[in-house]
C-alpha cells in the first residue's frame, strides 16, 4: 500500500476534466442496463467521471496518505484483537471493565451523532425550513456515527458475533443496556431510511425515492423518540455504578444530563461539520453569508440548550448535596468542565449571536464538542474508580483502533458526500418535503 502511495505520489496531477457532455440521467435506465451503460454509470458515479487510472491518481492526497498510514497500523491491531483477545490489545481489567472503546467510541460517538435527530425534528416537525440544507449532512453524520459506534462496540464486546442475542435470542428486559441495544438498532435503521431519499436520488430510483420521502415525518418522530430514549439510557447505564463514579458526576439525573448534553453536542457538531464541509467540499450552492446566518441560528439554539444543561448540572449537584466536594481536586476538575466547557461556550454563543459573529459561534461549538467528550470520558474513565489506587490508561493499540474507526468514518462520509446529493440538492428532483 505504501509502495503504491509512494509511486503514485510522484505522478500526482490534476485529473483531466471530462470533456464529453454527461449523458442525461434518463439515458441510463436503472433496469436492464447494457454492459457498457453499466460501465458508464460506474465510471460516472463511482469513479466520479474519471478513468480508473485518473481516479487512483486523484486519491493521492496528504489526507489519504495519513489515512493509509493509520489503516496500516489499525488493521494489524484489529487482527491481533480478534485472534489474541482483549488482554493482548487493551489495558482493561476487572476493576475497569470499560475503557476507551466504550468511553470514546460508543459514548462520545452516540452523543456527537445526535445532530441527525435534532436537525430532522427542527426542519420536518417544527417547520424551521431555513435549516433544510443542514438536514441531510446531519442525518448522514448521524447514520455513519451510529454505524461506527457499532463497529467500535464489536471491538469491545468479548463475543461480538453474539450481537443479535440481546435483541432476539436471549433478551434481558430488566437491563438499561437492553433498551440501549434495541434503540440503537432501531435508530440505525431509521437513519438509514431517513437517508434513503438521497441514495435513491443518486441511483435515479424515482418511485423508491417517493416512498422514502413519504415516510419522512413518521421516521422523524420515531427517530426523536428513539434518540430521547437511548441518549438518556446511555447515561442510565451508570445509575448502577454509585460509589464507583465520583459523586460529583454520579446523579439520579444522569439520564437527563446525557440527553441535554447530547442535544447540545448534536447542534454543535452540525455547526462544526458544516464548517468543515464548506471548506473541504466547497459547496457552491450555499453562500458564505447563508451559512453564517444558519450558523448564528444554531448558535442561538446551542446557547439555550447549554444554559439548560448548565442549570441541570447544578441541579444534580444540589440534589446530591455534594457541595463540599467542590473544594477538592476532583471538584476543581468538575468546575473546569462545567464553567469552562458548558458555561463558557454558552456565553460565547450568546455573545456571538448578539454581535452576529458566526466565526465565534463555530469556536464555541468546538469547545462544546470538546466539553461533551470530556464529560463522557469523565464519567466512564477519568472519575471511574476515582478512589482506587489502580488507574486505567488506554493501551496504544486502543488508541490505534479508535483513530482508525474515526478515520474510516471520515472516509465514508467523504466518499458518500462526493457521490450522493447530500450537501446539494439533486437537480433532477424537487427538494424533498
Amino acid at each position: 500500500m505504501i509502495d503504491q502511495v509512494a509511486r503514485t505520489a510522484v505522478l500526482e496531477s490534476p485529473p483531466p476534466v471530462a470533456d464529453e457532455p454527461a449523458p442525461s440521467r434518463q439515458a441510463v435506465p436503472p433496469r436492464g442496463r447494457s454492459r457498457s451503460a453499466s460501465l458508464a454509470w460506474l465510471r460516472r458515479e463511482i469513479l466520479l467521471g474519471q478513468t480508473p487510472r485518473d481516479y487512483l491518481k486523484s486519491l493521492v492526497t496528504p489526507f489519504n496518505i495519513v489515512a493509509a498510514l493509520i489503516l496500516c497500523v489499525g488493521i494489524p491491531v484489529t487482527i491481533v484483537r480478534f485472534t489474541q483477545g482483549l488482554a493482548a490489545t487493551t489495558n482493561l481489567t476487572d476493576a475497569t471493565p470499560w475503557g476507551l472503546w466504550i468511553g470514546f467510541d460508543v459514548l462520545c460517538g452516540v452523543a456527537l451523532a445526535a445532530g441527525g435527530f435534532v436537525m430532522a425534528s427542527a426542519v420536518h416537525l417544527f417547520g424551521l425550513h431555513d435549516y433544510k440544507p443542514l438536514v441531510r449532512p446531519a442525518i448522514l453524520t448521524g447514520f455513519l456515527g451510529y454505524f461506527f459506534v457499532v463497529i467500535g462496540l464489536l471491538f469491545d464486546l468479548g463475543r461480538p458475533w453474539r450481537l443479535p442475542y440481546p435483541l432476539f435470542i436471549s433478551p434481558g428486559v430488566t437491563s438499561v443496556m437492553f433498551e440501549v441495544a434495541w434503540c440503537v438498532a432501531l435508530y440505525l435503521t431509521v437513519q438509514l431510511l431517513e437517508f434513503c431519499p438521497a441514495a435513491f436520488e443518486w441511483l435515479g430510483w424515482r418511485s423508491c425515492r417517493q416512498w422514502a420521502v413519504w415516510m419522512t415525518v413518521g421516521l422523524t418522530v420515531f427517530g426523536v423518540l428513539l434518540s430521547t430514549l437511548h441518549q438518556s439510557a446511555l447515561g442510565g447505564l451508570f445509575l448502577m455504578a454509585p460509589g464507583k463514579i465520583h459523586p460529583l458526576w454520579y446523579s439520579p439525573y444522569i439520564p437527563v444530563l446525557f440527553f441535554a448534553s447530547a442535544v447540545a453536542a448534536g447542534i454543535s457538531m452540525v455547526v462544526f461539520e458544516s464548517m468543515l464541509s464548506h471548506r473541504v467540499f466547497q459547496e457552491a450552492r450555499h453562500s458564505r453569508a447563508r451559512m453564517d446566518r444558519l450558523t448564528l441560528g444554531l448558535g442561538k439554539a446551542a446557547a439555550v440548550v447549554l444554559m439548560v444543561y448548565f442549570g441541570l448540572k447544578w441541579l444534580a449537584l444540589a440534589h446530591g448535596q455534594q457541595w463540599r466536594l467542590l473544594l477538592t481536586p476532583y471538584g476543581y476538575w468538575w468546575l473546569l468542565e462545567v464553567l469552562g466547557f458548558i458555561l463558557l461556550p454558552c456565553l460565547l454563543n450568546a455573545y456571538a449571536v448578539r454581535n452576529r459573529r458566526a466565526g465565534l459561534v463555530r469556536f464555541a461549538c468546538v469547545i462544546t464538542v470538546l466539553g461533551i467528550v470530556l464529560n463522557r470520558l469523565n464519567i466512564s474513565i477519568i472519575t471511574y474508580h476515582w478512589n482506587a489506587a489502580e488507574r486505567y490508561i488506554p493501551d496504544w493499540k486502543e488508541f490505534a483502533i479508535t483513530i482508525m474507526i474515526v478515520t474510516l468514518g471520515l472516509l465514508s462520509f467523504r466518499s458518500i458526500v462526493n457521490r450522493m446529493p447530500v450537501l446539494n440538492d439533486h437537480p433532477d428532483f424537487e427538494p424533498a418535503h
Binding site: 486523484s58 468479548g158 430488566t174 433498551e179 427538494p431
Partner: protein
C-alpha cells in the same frame, strides 16, 4: 405531506405494543424478595486464620486448579498486596492489620455476595444471570456477549472477566457451588475445607439468627453489625467481624436499596416517553402545518413564492434551481440541471463550476 388518520392509528398501534412490552419489562424484576428457603453462608472473620485453603478448594471445585500444590497457599507474601477476585480465583483472602503493630491481623475472604436482588442479573442484557431456587446467583455463559456491564454494576466488584481468551471469554464468579448444594448433600467447597469452621453454610434466616446470637453472647468480640443483612438490599453471604467493616476493605457505602431499584425508575419512564413523545411531536408537526397553511392563505400575494417557506436563495443560479420544477410529476423537464453537474459528475463537482481549472477536490 400530511398524516392521515390511518397512518396515525398505525403509528399508535405500533407504539402501543411497544409500550406494553416496555411497561411489562419495567415491572419485571430479576428476583423477588428474600425467600426463606434460600441458602447462605456466614463467614466469621474472628475465626479465619488466613490459611487460604478455601482458595485452593475453590479452584479444585471449579476446575481452575493449576500446578500449584496446596502448600503453596501457605506463602504469606501474597498478603503484601490487596487482591480481588479474578478469572482464576473466585475467592481471595486478604489480610488487614499487621503482626508488627502487635494486634492480630484480620483475614477477609471475599467472593460473590449472592445478593437477594442481584445488580448483575438486572444489568445483564441477555439474562445470563439468575437467582437460583437455592439462593446462589448463577451465571450461564451460553448467551453472554461479553459487554461486562455486570462488572460495572456489581456493588461488591466480584465478577471477573477472562480478557485473555480471544474466542470464548466468560465472566467468572463464585456460584456457591450450586451443583454441590442443589440436592442438599454437601456444602460448598470452601465451607467444607475450612479447618477452623469460619464459614457456616445454611439457610440464610438461620444464619442471621446464629450471627445475632454470636454477637449477643460476645459483645466484646464482635462489632454489632451483620454485613450482608441489609447491604445493597441484603445478600445471601453474611459476615460478622471483630473490627468495623470499613477497616476491613468492605464497601460500607452501598446503602440498603437493592441495586435494581437504581434503574427501575428510569426504566419505568420508558413507556411514558413512548406514549407522550409521539403525541407531542405530532402535535408540533400539526401546529407547524396549520401555521404554514394559514400563512400561505393569508399572505400569498405578499410573500415571495418560496418552496415550503424555505429561505430565499441568494444567487441567481440557485433561484433557477429552486424555481424550476414546482412538482415532481413532470420528470422530463429538460432545464432541471444544476450548474454543478454540467461536467457529468456527481454533485461533488460543484467546485468545478467556480473555476473550471480547479482539480476535483473529490477524494482529497
Amino acid at each position: 405531506m400530511s398524516v392521515s388518520r390511518r397512518d396515525f392509528l398505525r403509528l399508535a398501534g405500533a407504539a402501543g405494543v411497544a409500550n406494553l412490552a416496555a411497561a411489562q419489562a419495567a415491572r419485571a424484576s430479576a428476583a423477588g424478595p428474600a425467600n426463606p428457603e434460600w441458602m447462605g453462608m456466614l463467614t466469621d472473620l474472628t475465626l479465619c486464620v488466613g490459611c487460604r485453603k478455601c482458595e485452593w478448594a475453590c479452584r479444585q471445585a471449579n476446575g481452575l486448579a493449576g500446578e500449584e500444590p496446596i502448600d503453596a497457599y501457605d506463602d504469606p507474601s501474597v498478603f503484601a498486596n490487596k487482591r480481588r477476585t479474578s478469572g482464576l480465583s473466585l475467592t481471595v483472602v486478604n489480610r488487614y492489620g499487621s503482626d508488627a503493630a502487635g494486634e492480630k491481623p484480620v483475614h477477609v475472604k471475599t467472593q460473590c455476595m449472592h445478593c437477594i436482588e442481584p445488580a448483575c442479573a438486572s444489568a445483564c442484557l441477555v439474562g445470563a444471570y439468575r437467582k437460583s431456587p437455592q439462593g446462589p446467583v448463577i451465571y450461564d455463559d451460553s448467551a453472554c456477549i461479553g459487554c461486562r456491564y455486570c462488572l460495572i454494576a456489581c456493588p461488591f466488584e466480584m465478577p471477573a472477566y477472562t480478557y485473555d481468551d480471544p474466542l470464548t471469554p466468560v465472566v467468572r464468579k463464585c456460584m456457591m457451588c450450586v451443583e454441590r448444594i442443589r440436592d442438599g448433600a454437601s456444602r460448598p467447597a470452601c465451607a467444607e475445607m475450612c479447618p477452623v469452621e469460619a464459614i457456616t453454610f445454611g439457610k440464610r434466616n438461620a444464619l442471621l439468627t446464629l450471627a445475632r446470637k454470636k454477637i449477643a453472647e460476645h459483645p466484646d468480640k464482635y462489632v454489632d453489625h451483620i454485613y450482608g443483612e441489609t447491604e445493597a438490599g441484603g445478600t445471601c453471604w453474611l459476615y460478622i467481624a471483630g473490627k468495623p467493616f470499613e477497616e476491613l476493605g468492605f464497601r460500607t457505602d452501598v446503602g440498603t436499596t437493592p441495586y435494581p431499584e437504581l434503574t427501575r425508575g428510569f426504566l419505568s419512564s420508558v413507556p411514558l416517553i413512548q406514549t407522550i413523545w409521539p403525541a407531542l411531536l405530532m402535535g408540533a408537526y400539526a401546529f407547524t402545518q396549520r401555521r404554514e397553511t394559514l400563512a400561505r392563505d393569508s399572505g400569498a400575494s405578499v410573500a415571495p413564492p418560496t418552496e415550503n417557506g424555505s429561505e430565499k436563495p441568494e444567487s441567481g443560479r440557485a433561484v433557477a434551481v429552486n424555481r424550476v420544477a414546482p412538482s415532481d410529476d413532470n420528470p422530463s423537464l429538460p432545464s432541471r440541471s444544476r450548474p454543478g453537474r454540467v461536467q457529468g459528475r456527481g454533485s461533488d463537482q460543484a467546485s468545478q463550476t467556480r473555476s473550471e481549472s480547479t482539480p476535483p477536490e473529490a477524494e482529497s
